[in-house]
């Protein structure tokens, strides 16, 4: 919780300056004539100004279960590996995507598709861990997940701007084994939102706000005995925690979680479904100052009926993802926001007896957009069957190096385990230069 509180300290140390975004909002509100309350959009527009000066942000669109590259980013029409879905031309001549992705095909100018990811890890939990941490699980090293590591690094760089009421890392949807803050501590654990169409759990006081404040007042006055000598530090920490938690849920920034505040047209533009709501929520959270948002689309483990299931799943992310990019662009935020789409591995070229595809880490795909990534290109290639990487192999470590590099984070930065063992953000790997050149 401490970094959520850092704002308070920062405000004290920077007299005269607008030290935090919340302060900025308050100042702006105060400037507004009495009786005139600013709308959410106005407030966000002002906030976005300060954000633009500030650092970078990241959205991870996590495809849980292992999305089929054949039905998404690396179609092989006419080959033995092809399923039912054909390929379509994109906005970029020479690059085709699966016909399941008509909207992203139009947005291809912003996407860098990597078709040559390759790893050895074909078991869900281990691959999920690998693609969230850049490492395989190691006993004794409680590694931070990507979102936590990014949030911590970016917050470290811009302490003055980190004074939001909202946490820096929000995860939308359950990701089993997606990891948390690990050795970085609970400050960087994600705030998990199960259902993006509802507010975070336990974020609504059970009593009226007035009574809630009275209760908080009583709590504040009570702990004089334990706080006197035996648990001075603990009482202090608990008070801060209660203040931060109640501050968060009573803060106007909580409106970011309320999708109902978005115009109907905007909601419709994202389309139907939880993932669509998640993408819209991601945009609102980024606008409210959240550093990293992870949105999960599950159900990709298509061991049977791959073609129909992949088609339905693609329909769930195609429009929202394209819309998210367009929205970020329209707000001038795409230049500083990295969007990554990936899953734990790809699926087999061979179609099994149940019309499904099995796990295939040897050759799979992902895409990146924004934050300086050059769109309109396909990096690496697989052979005609999609069975082998034949050009520019990319390891998970390379991908992680590239993500950190894009966000301006030194991938050789070391965190230390409780046993005093230093662990780099990424061990080995190198930046995929083709993303930028």
């Amino acid at each position: 919780m401490t970094h959520w509180l850092r704002g308070a300290e920062v405000r004290l140390t920077r007299r005269g300056a607008v030290a935090s975004r919340r302060d900025f909002l308050r100042t702006a509100s105060a400037v507004a004539a009495a009786g005139v309350t600013m709308s959410w959009t106005q407030r966000v527009a002002l906030a976005a100004e300060t954000l633009r000066r500030g650092g970078k942000r990241c959205v991870l669109l996590w495809m849980e279960g292992g999305p089929s590259q054949f039905e998404t980013l690396d179609p092989k029409p006419g080959s033995r590996s092809a399923g039912d879905a054909g390929a379509i031309a994109t906005a970029v001549p020479g690059i085709q995507l699966s016909e399941n992705l008509p909207e992203l095909a139009k947005a291809m100018g912003d996407l860098a598709v990597v078709r040559s990811l390759t790893s050895k890890e074909g078991s869900h939990p281990r691959a999920r861990y690998l693609m969230h941490h850049g490492y395989l699980p190691m006993g004794g090293a409680n590694l931070p997940t990507l979102g936590s590591a990014v949030a911590e690094r970016l917050d470290a760089e811009r302490a003055a701007d980190a004074a939001a009421a909202l946490p820096s890392f929000v995860r939308v949807g359950r990701t089993s084994g997606g990891g948390g803050g690990g050795m970085l501590g609970v400050d960087y654990d994600p705030l998990v939102i199960d259902d993006p169409s509802r507010p975070p759990r336990n974020a609504r006081p059970a009593s009226s706000v007035l009574r809630y404040r009275r209760r908080l007042g009583l709590l504040e006055r009570l702990e004089t005995d334990f706080g006197a000598a035996e648990g001075t530090d603990l009482v202090d920490a608990q008070r801060k925690l209660v203040a931060a938690a109640s501050g968060m849920i009573l803060s106007p920034d909580m409106q970011a979680f309320d999708l109902e505040r978005e115009p109907l047209s905007a909601r419709q533009a994202y389309g139907e479904g939880r993932f669509a709501s998640g993408c819209l929520l991601a945009r609102r959270l980024l606008e409210a100052g959240v550093t990293f948002v992870e949105v999960t689309l599950g159900g990709w483990d298509t061991h049977d009926d791959n073609h129909e299931r992949s088609k339905a799943l693609a329909a769930q992310f195609d429009r929202p993802a394209a819309r998210l990019l367009a929205d970020l662009k329209a707000r001038g935020m795409l230049d500083s926001t990295l969007v990554v789409w990936m899953g734990e591995f790809g699926r087999t070229p061979r179609i099994n007896g149940r019309g499904g595809r099995d796990h295939y880490p040897r050759a799979f795909s992902a895409w990146l957009a924004g934050c300086g990534v050059q769109g309109g290109r396909a990096i690496g290639a697989t052979d005609g069957l999609g069975a082998e990487v034949v050009e520019r192999p990319v390891s998970p470590q390379d991908l992680f190096c590239s993500i950190y590099h894009t966000l301006g984070i030194d991938a050789s930065h070391e965190n230390t385990t409780s046993a005093g063992r230093p662990v780099k953000l990424v061990d080995g790997g190198s930046v995929i230069e083709e993303l930028f050149a």
């Binding site: 919780m1 959520w4 939990p125 281990r126 699980p137 190691m138 006993g139 004794g140 409680n142 946490p167 089993s176 084994g177 501590g185 609970v186 400050d187 654990d189 705030l191 998990v192 975070p200 759990r201 336990n202 974020a203 609504r204 006081p205 059970a206 009593s207 009574r211 009275r214 209760r215 009583l218 709590l219 006055r221 009570l222 702990e223 004089t224 005995d225 334990f226 706080g227 000598a229 035996e230 648990g231 001075t232 530090d233 603990l234 009482v235 920490a237 608990q238 008070r239 925690l241 209660v242 931060a244 938690a245 109640s246 968060m248 849920i249 409780s418 046993a419 063992r421």
Partner: protein, 537 residues
Amino acid sequence: MRFLAIFPLFAAAATATLAAPSPSRVARQIDRLIAEDVGLSPGESAPRVGDAAFLRRASLDLIGAIPSPGEVRDFVNDDAADKRTRIVDDLVHRTEFGVAQARYWRDVILSRRLEDRALLVSAALESDLAEWINAGESWSVIAERFITATGSAREDGATAILVAQDGRTEEIAAEVSRVFLGVQIQCAQCHDHPWDSWKREQFHELAAFFPRVGVRPQRGRPIDLVVNVADRRDFPLLRTGANLNRRGRPEHYMQDPERPEEVGARIEPRFFLTGMEAPLGTRDAERRGRLAEELTASEWFSTALVNRYWAELIGEGFYEPVDDLGPGRKPSAPRAAERLATAFTDSGHDLRWLHRTILATDAYQRESRPRRAPGAKPFAANVAQPLRGDQLFDATLAALGVDERRLRGLGGARQGRGYGLATPRLLFNSAFGYDPSEPRDTVQATIPQALARMNTPQLNLAVRALPGAVVGGLSLRHADDASAIARELYLRTLSREPTGEELAVVLDHVDGEGVVASAMEDLFWALLNTAEFSHRR
């Protein structure tokens, strides 16, 4: 002849005395040695903790639960000089003692699981270990079971470490060493350890005791994990290296970091502490059996265990972190640590004995103080600890007067589905639990935890002054006497009476609120959200 008949009795009595040194005597020795080791004079240490706080502390430490208001009153009003010793003896013989300790070890082992499916060993781990501890089994016998286990994770809790490490040779070796010896030899897994003297080869020699162990899922309802042994004599001894399928009779290979594409050198089992070796080809049962025997006989085995419990009970280990004893680390009170470890070995690795001894020390019975600054003397006070998930769950239920079995009925325990994660206790533990091996000062409460404590609708319902609920009942019984109700609420939550100052604050709140019942709802809510409630003072 009579003389000869008596003789064995004498011998037995002598062994017993030798085997179980008196807890109170050892406690006094430890206190003296600490004072000498760290140069602690009587004036520098915190005063002896009061009776009510002692009872809450000992109850949480021994049986994982807070005492009832009646138990607090009885204990405080008891005039007997030896009441603390007696209550400790009583608590360590309750069934909840084994259960609470088993849950602690469940958190130690499963916090380091590689995959969530390992959670399906939880139930068996908890019930088997509780049974062994309650039967007074020695920690060395229990450790041997964990090291040599085979079979079903749902049926045998001893498989827990193997299952949590997913049957992976190197991970198992690392975890066995960490948990039972307090040696983090896995740091030498990839390279020679930068500051410890263990070599990479020694780690792999330890791993070579486990190459034949594997964990496989067994489909069916409910799904299970089985610890298999690949020991088939009719299969050839594999000479080709890394045998991830655990077929035939595998051996362990140490990869050359410069040549990751090759399997590396075949390694013979050798225990780094004693040099005990097992030749290649040794059967699994003998490999693990001999390792377990040597390992549990070593000094490190006793030191690691007493260090861990000392840290739990006093708030700081002789060695920190609790599972990293070295080599080359200097304990903060070397002679005290050594005396306690030796006496624990002499007790026959008896966990009850250890608890009775530590709880009898002055070091334990001092008031708590915030964790000391790096330069300050250790063990001058106890340190308040955040409750573990189970403790907070039980304390909350006890305070609210809710029976866990009733929760099961409501919460859809979905027996046999998933990994068994769906019981209210385990769900609560996954939200509030922590890894007990992590340094305690790094265990921080989170915003979602604070929100859950403040705003969970069911909890707020239970706080209300409804008939059948706590505040409703107290209001009836005490006819809206705010002071009397407040006293009861303090006893239910913090296991003590309010101070005069606290009572004044409460009465002031009652004045502001007007209605006694709703002011008491506020008080109950506030007490459940205090740091004191969620800590063991």
